[in-house]
């Protein structure tokens, strides 16, 4: 009880201290900046033209890159997971090597690579790098989903007279995809966040519109205000998508295997799926009692 009160006082006090610090006007670079709550800091946001620019250039630029890259990344992930779990060694091993390479490299370096070597322009550099990186991770998640399926599913497909590839595509893959859907959506949150790297390679998205174009136009006086608006817009996009991922994972985990997957962390989710696969294998070897 006492610790609860102390913690509450500390948190509320800390927030109040931050608010008071922000509220005071500040001298910076020879000009006096208004306090955070000063109306002159926010009056430009009453201008609908400003919002149409922020929304149609910034938010639209971010969503366009994210949507196109998401579609490509899911397609690439499906292809990669099938190649990676192929029975033929000379398909599986090179895919694994390429995947390791892609996963170990920063996305930003990939963007620079595509921008300078393939000379595609900033938009396609962003889309291609995000597709490659997130496609690799989605592929790994799907592969883990395939590995976590009980062997019987494959055997059932084969016993119905399907070929191995048919059984994989028609019986196993739909189940793996459904099981891994929350993780794929969570990976799309990562993708959406990473579109902001376009700022560094020169693609016009939300961060660049708000923090470069608008600040250059209206002046540094509004730097912090634009930052807050940018933050809120990013949070609105990312939080809604990650809450959707969590809702999906709650739904799938209650209906199917009962394993709780944490959709926020794809690496961990892959590990969970692999662990459940090995657990299931060991269960099946135990005699029934």
């Amino acid at each position: 009880m006492i610790s609860s009160i102390v913690a509450g006082v500390l948190i509320v006090g800390g927030l109040a201290w931050m608010a008071l610090t922000l509220a005071a006007p500040r001298e910076s670079g020879g000009i006096t900046l208004p306090g955070f709550f000063d109306p002159s800091r926010w009056d430009i946001f009453a201008d609908p033209e400003l919002w149409s620019f922020i929304v149609f250039e910034g938010v639209f630029g971010t969503l366009r890159a994210a949507l196109i890259a998401s579609v490509f990344a899911i397609i690439l992930g499906i292809i990669l997971s099938l190649l990676r779990s192929s029975a033929i060694a000379w398909i599986r091993i090179p895919t694994a090597v390429v995947l390791e390479f892609v996963r170990g490299m920063p996305v930003l370096l990939m963007m620079l690579f595509i921008l300078l070597v393939l000379n595609t322009g900033a938009f396609w550099a962003v889309v291609a790098a995000l597709t490659l990186y997130n496609g690799a991770l989605i592929g790994e998640a799907l592969r883990a989903g395939l590995a976590a399926l009980p062997r019987g599913q494959r055997e059932a497909g084969l016993s119905l007279g399907m070929r191995p590839l048919q059984s994989k595509m028609l019986v196993e893959f739909p189940q793996a995809f459904r099981q891994m859907l929350p993780i794929i959506v969570a990976q799309l949150v990562v993708l959406l966040k990473d579109t902001s790297l376009g700022y560094i390679v020169g693609y016009t998205e939300l961060l660049r519109v708000n923090m470069n174009n608008l600040v250059n136009f209206y002046g540094n006086r509004y730097l912090f205000s634009f930052f807050v608006v940018t933050l809120v817009l990013y949070l609105a996009m990312n939080l809604s998508l990650s809450w959707f991922a969590r809702w999906l994972s709650k739904r799938t985990s209650s209906s199917s295997s009962g394993k709780r997957l944490d959709p926020e962390d794809p690496n961990q989710a892959v590990l969970v799926a692999e662990a459940s696969a090995s657990a299931r294998q060991s269960e099946s070897h135990e005699p029934r009692t």
Partner: protein, 215 residues
């Protein structure tokens, strides 16, 4: 290839900065993340709520925006840090919720019965956590934590976009200076990143295999 060999000193200067960013922000993210994780599982509701909100907000903010805040907005608000220091602050803050989540998932992996047993023997909250739960959670936590540090290694490249001369910054400068050998320059940088990330990944996978089976 010549372009890479001629510019090895520049590469290593950048690589040193990348390692410095990785170590410093890794350690401070570990400290921050542990505090957040402890708040997250504490019996005090206000601490739990604060930690949850912090985790949700920071995790859904793009790293580029965090580093932009630290490098460009923060000097306007007061503290005037060197770019490398502000990048370290940004990377630590950005990484801390991921550390906290890794720790928390390890702690959640410990059966509730363990904590109940500890409490029934008369141990307090602090004792239960430090003597019973954390030692068991530790082995579940290391592999996901290593994955967080792999992600951090790759994330340090974003600091290169905010005036820090680390591996990515060095690479983009070299690539601009040597227009005829861009591929070699970029592959050289990729190799240096892989030198950090692939061994870490191998260690994580091995620990995972060793420890998951035992449990």
């Amino acid at each position: 290839m010549d372009a890479v060999i001629d510019n090895l000193p520049t590469y290593f200067e950048g690589f040193r900065m990348t390692l410095l960013l990785l170590v410093v922000s890794g350690i401070s993210a570990l400290v921050l993340g542990t505090i957040v994780a402890a708040m997250r599982i504490s019996p005090v509701p206000s601490l739990r709520a604060f930690a949850t909100v912090y985790t949700e907000l920071v995790r859904n903010t793009p790293l580029t925006l965090v580093l932009f805040f630290c490098a460009i907005v923060l000097p306007y608000l007061g503290p005037d840090l060197a770019y490398a220091a502000s990048a370290m602050v940004g990377l630590s803050v950005y990484t801390s919720p991921f550390v906290a989540e890794a720790l928390r998932s390890g702690i959640n992996g410990v059966p509730v019965g363990q904590a109940e047993a500890a409490r029934s023997v008369g141990l307090g909250f602090g004792q239960t956590v430090s003597l019973i739960v954390l030692p068991q959670a530790f082995r579940m936590t290391i592999p996901p934590l290593i994955n967080v540090f792999i992600a951090l290694t790759k994330n340090t490249s974003v600091a290169g976009g905010f005036f820090v001369f680390e591996l990515f910054g060095a690479t983009s400068r070299l690539a601009n200076a040597n227009g005829d050998a861009v591929i070699a320059i970029l592959l050289g940088a990729a190799t240096l990143y892989l030198v950090i990330t692939i061994p870490l990944g191998v260690i994580a996978a091995q620990l995972e295999r060793k420890w998951v089976v035992q449990r």
